[in-house]
């Protein structure tokens, strides 16, 4: 029975627009979610249902209008600088667009080295660590000197994943990680993610509109519908009306 490491409690997010006549649009309402260490939680829902927003809130990239996010029991909004930095490193995000995550003007190597510098690894270890990383995500050394626009979608997504893994996070929020990829590349990516989870005990919050992907990857799943998360027992589809 693994411990709960991330806990979203009663999250609500609403957008207000207009100066005089205010219009309030509620995306999330009283949403709660629990993620245990080393497990995959699949979050499904149609586009526009707010699942990406929920993912960002849980990763600390956006603030909700209400509710709390707890990391190992402590609210991330009450953390001091050092604790929040630690949280940031432990909860990472992989985005949908493979080419977008990496700076188009930097070679893959530079992007990797920036992160290694950030975590304070001494320069003499950079080469070794980068090599280990490439092996883990199934890339060869020759891509290091290339820039994102010279690589395929699959390669870019792997490089982005590799960069995230350099931080050795506890949880990775996977926001539609394979929807922009070809079928065979998607298959490769999903298997790789599963293997990595087995080796590194990383937890995944998998956000996807594709039920098949969630069924393949997730241990537990929930459906985000009208701003609330409805748990799917045993990954049954019956409760989730929007999914085909």
């Amino acid at each position: 029975m693994s411990a709960v490491c991330l806990n979203a409690r009663s999250i609500s997010k609403a957008y207000e627009s207009g100066l005089i006549f205010k219009r309030r649009r509620s995306i999330l309402e009283d949403v709660s979610l629990e993620l245990k260490s080393g497990e995959t939680f699949g979050l499904v829902g149609d586009s526009g249902s707010g699942k990406s927003t929920l993912g960002r809130i849980i990763a600390g990239l956006e603030r909700p209008t209400g509710g709390d996010v707890l990391f190992h029991g402590k609210s991330i909004y009450e953390m001091n600088g050092a604790e929040f930095s630690k949280f940031r490193r432990s909860v990472q995000t992989l985005f949908q667009d493979p080419e977008g995550s990496l700076n188009p003007r930097k070679s893959i190597e530079r992007s990797m080295h920036d992160v290694l510098r950030l975590i304070g690894l001494p320069m003499r270890d950079w080469r070794r660590r980068t090599s280990e990383m490439l092996q883990m995500v199934g890339l060869t050394e020759e891509i290091l000197c290339r820039r994102p626009d010279q690589l395929s979608g699959g390669q870019n997504q792997r490089a982005a994943l590799g960069r995230v893994l350099l931080l050795e996070p506890e949880v990775i929020v996977l926001d539609e990680p394979t929807s922009a990829l070809d079928i065979s590349v998607q298959a490769q990516m999903l298997h790789m993610l599963k293997d990595l989870q087995r080796d590194l005990s990383t937890g995944y919050l998998l956000i996807s509109h594709d039920m098949d992907v969630v069924k393949f990857m997730a241990d537990r799943a929930g459906c985000l519908e009208q701003g609330r998360v409805i748990p799917l027992d045993g990954k049954s589809i019956a409760l989730c009306s929007e999914i085909r």
Binding site: T93, D97, R105, D114, L118, A160, R163
Partner: protein, 280 residues
Amino acid sequence: MDGRGSCQPFKGLGLQSSLGAVLFILFVIVAIFSEGLSPYDPWARFQPYQPPDIQHILGTNDMGNDIFSELIFSSRISISVGLGAALIATAIGTLVGLISGYFKGLADEALMGVTDIVLMIPSIPLIIILAAFLRPSPWDIALIMGSLWWTSTARVVRSRTLQVREMKFVESARSLGFSDIHIITSEIFPNIFQVVLPKFVLAIASAMISEASISFLGLGDPSMKSWGTMISFAFSRGGFINGYWWWYMPPGICIIAFVFSVVMMGFSLEEDRDDGMRLE
């Protein structure tokens, strides 16, 4: 993806910008190596009012200075004022634009307010007034120009920063935990550089012309030779009336040629942008 035609003498540059670059470099070499290239010391006095001949290619002025030597040495002041002012203007503009565009909110409002105020200040009249009262050196003029001209660069950098800021890789960088300073310098700046460079280059042109104008109006420092002062003296000492074309045509042509070279480089740089960041 080249600029003009398929001729590419230098890697990545089209014909137009290559020509501009060559000319520019020539001028800079002349400015740096003035001592070696000029036949005489520009302050040395010879027989005045000499028309062009073998001894003095462009003749001598009313003080007896060899005009060709003057021309070569004047490049120094003209070019360095141009470069100096452009550097200051671009540096300030880029900084303001980056901070404004990245942090948005209060910083943005404040900085854009300052930009608007500075925009309202008419730069040339101000320089003329200051020059009339304070008799500044060319470096002071460069400083003043730089402090007034950064506004358009700031605007352009700001809007590009606003664009780049929303791109996914910036969000990734934030998510990885990089500091704001790192993101601005390492992630955003390289992506706005393509916008800053042509602005810098064109600012050199503007600065040069302004310096020339001010010197021409007689407000420059008479003890330092620049192309503008040469034309000014040509005017005030009777060169125009007497038709001594070798007094005013050479510096005029130099100004035009230098500005032309700079503009050719600048416009080509603005067009040949393959920044790989099309907004799909």
